[in-house]
């Protein structure tokens, strides 16, 4: 569990920094596609990273896994909704839409939150 959390911490850290950097206008030639320029979004990723890293080092990693995964899932889901809303909007307005422009990493790392979410479900079912 801790190892998994460290991996997630690193991924979100890198993505977070990347998004903030893009937000400030820095051009990045990284082997990473679809990084939006989003300072606050990047900050959110850094918070998630902090949650996972603190959890990996703390006495109660489970708790941090739950929260980190939930946050990851919230944002992944959120950006998928935004993506769909943009698509719907261009249909309504009769405008052209570049779907690829709206894709962002959080949609993919959403999958990484699944193990954590399964743990949450297990824990919720366990109690009287």
């Amino acid at each position: 569990m801790r190892a998994y959390m460290v991996v997630l911490a690193l991924i979100t850290l890198i993505l977070g920094i990347a998004e903030i950097a893009c937000g400030f206008g820095l051009e990045l030639s990284l082997p990473m596609p679809y990084i939006p320029s989003d300072i606050f979004g990047g900050f959110a990723l850094l918070v998630i990273s902090a949650t996972f890293s603190k959890g990996a080092l703390s006495e109660e990693p489970r708790a941090h896994l739950y929260i980190g995964s939930i946050l990851l899932a919230i944002f992944g889901l959120l950006y998928i909704l935004v993506f769909l809303a943009n698509g719907l909007d261009s249909v309504i307005l009769g405008e052209e839409w570049q779907p690829l422009g709206d894709i962002r990493p959080e949609m993919f790392i959403l999958l990484l939150s699944i193990p954590g979410l399964l743990s949450v479900r297990k824990k919720l079912n366990e109690n009287p």
Partner: protein, 423 residues
């Protein structure tokens, strides 16, 4: 020692020895809520997590609601055009087309974001997270002279300040309560949102989200500042300690969330149907009359509205704002939702063109100043009514009005000043 005591002690002493050798006390296995609280209430992670969740709430509210707003937008545009082309009487056509459909359209376009905010907050509420947020913010809030329980009213203020101020009734201490009430109007209510969306959209394209959030943050910071100042000057002392019950975390139920959001949205709709309706008509009247002078609303400079705007202009000119902004702000006194609609009527344009229209009269700096003023300058009529009711004496209400006007001017002046240095 009394033998009775001696033997009682001896018995327990022996029990202790026996259990020491045969029993282990591990801490109670933690429930899901206990585990979540370890992270969510953490000294360092607590506030960042809270801010992150707030960011998610706003992203959800503003980005995902866009298609719905556009649908409403299109509907009212068609309706306005239809009215103007089908009604023979010119004045009536203008009243119904521009005044009613146009004005209402501008307002109802913001119904989706408001509804989405209520949904998102409803989810947070249903999971049981909000008391944790209040707890996490309590230390920070106490530092600026606010009671931990004012957290929820402040949060509600982001929807509408009227129910928010009424929610302060949960604060027992009178001084804590008064201070919470007096700074609540600085929490940017949903009615001010249209102004931010318009100006941020036009002058800060691509960064709207960040700019709008900054407005909200500004409101929060100013609320904290004013709470400290008001407390120092008028009351002294510190906020009383926070005692709150934390419910168990649970999975939110779609039914109760949607129900709650619907009820709160209804309040907004009812306001739209009454005050805003009246407001839209009033503004239409002021900007289209005297009818001949304005040529049926074409020549805005000759209307009553313009006279009011010109009267106010000298005050706001140093901030880069002209008489049109003056009229819009004046209309905002009645209800903040009308401000954008007023701009529409003043420029004689509909929703699509308003963006280009304001480009003529504003620049990024004055746009920021406009947003800041809208944030700060005056509570709307409905809020003033509640302020009087909850604060009791007029003197406190007057204090709010005076400090808000002064603060608004001060902040706008600072923005303009900094703007001049940077650009």
């Amino acid at each position: 020692m009394d033998f009775i005591d001696a033997i009682a002690n001896a018995r327990y002493e022996l029990i202790g020895e026996i259990l020491g050798k045969s029993m282990e006390r591990t801490s109670k296995p933690k429930s899901f809520s206990d585990l979540v609280d370890i992270v969510v209430l953490d000294k360092y992670l607590g506030i960042p997590i809270f801010l992150t969740l707030m960011w998610a709430v706003f992203q959800f509210a503003f980005s995902v609601s866009v298609p719905f707003s556009d649908v409403i937008d299109m509907f009212f545009s068609f309706a306005a055009d239809w009215a103007k082309s089908s009604i023979s009487n010119e004045i009536l056509a203008s009243l119904i087309g521009d005044g009613i459909f146009g004005g209402l359209g501008f307002v109802l376009v913001f119904l989706p974001p408001i509804a989405f905010v209520f949904i998102a907050l409803g989810i947070l509420e249903d999971t049981g997270y909000l008391p944790r947020a209040a707890f996490v913010m309590d230390k920070a809030m106490t530092k600026v002279g606010l009671h931990g329980k004012s957290f929820i009213p402040m949060l509600l203020g982001f929807g509408c300040n009227v129910p928010a101020i009424m929610a302060t009734r949960t604060i027992e201490n009178d001084v804590d309560r008064k201070i919470s009430i007096m700074v609540n109007p600085l929490m940017s209510c949903s009615a001010r949102l249209p102004v931010y969306v318009l100006f941020a959209g036009v002058f800060f394209t691509g960064y709207e989200g960040a700019v709008i959030v900054s407005m909200y943050l500004l409101g929060i910071i100013l609320a904290a500042l004013m709470a400290t100042i008001i407390r120092k000057i008028f009351f002294g002392g510190k906020p009383s300690p926070l005692l709150m019950e934390m419910p168990e975390f649970s999975v939110p139920s779609a039914k109760s969330v949607l129900n709650g959001a619907w009820i709160r949205t209804q309040i907004f709709l009812r306001k739209a149907a009454t005050i805003l309706f009246i407001g839209a008509v009033v503004i239409w009247l002021l900007s289209n009359f005297p009818w001949e002078a304005t040529g049926g609303g074409e020549v805005l400079e000759n209307s009553y509205a313009a006279s009011i705007g010109h009267a106010v202009e000298p005050v706001i000119k140093p901030l880069g704002l002209n008489w049109k902004a003056g009229v819009a702000l004046f209309s905002g006194f009645m209800a903040k939702e009308i401000v954008v609609g007023t701009f529409g009527i003043l420029y004689g344009v509909n929703e699509e063109e308003i963006g280009t229209a304001i480009l003529h009269d504003f620049n990024p700096v004055s746009a920021l100043a406009m947003m800041a003023i809208t944030l700060i300058y005056l509570p709307c009529l409905a809020t003033m009514g509640v302020l009087k009711r909850e604060l009791g004496e007029w003197k406190w209400v007057e204090l709010v009005i005076v400090y808000e006007l002064l603060l608004a001017y001060l902040v706008a002046a600072m923005i303009v000043g900094i703007g001049r240095l940077v650009i």
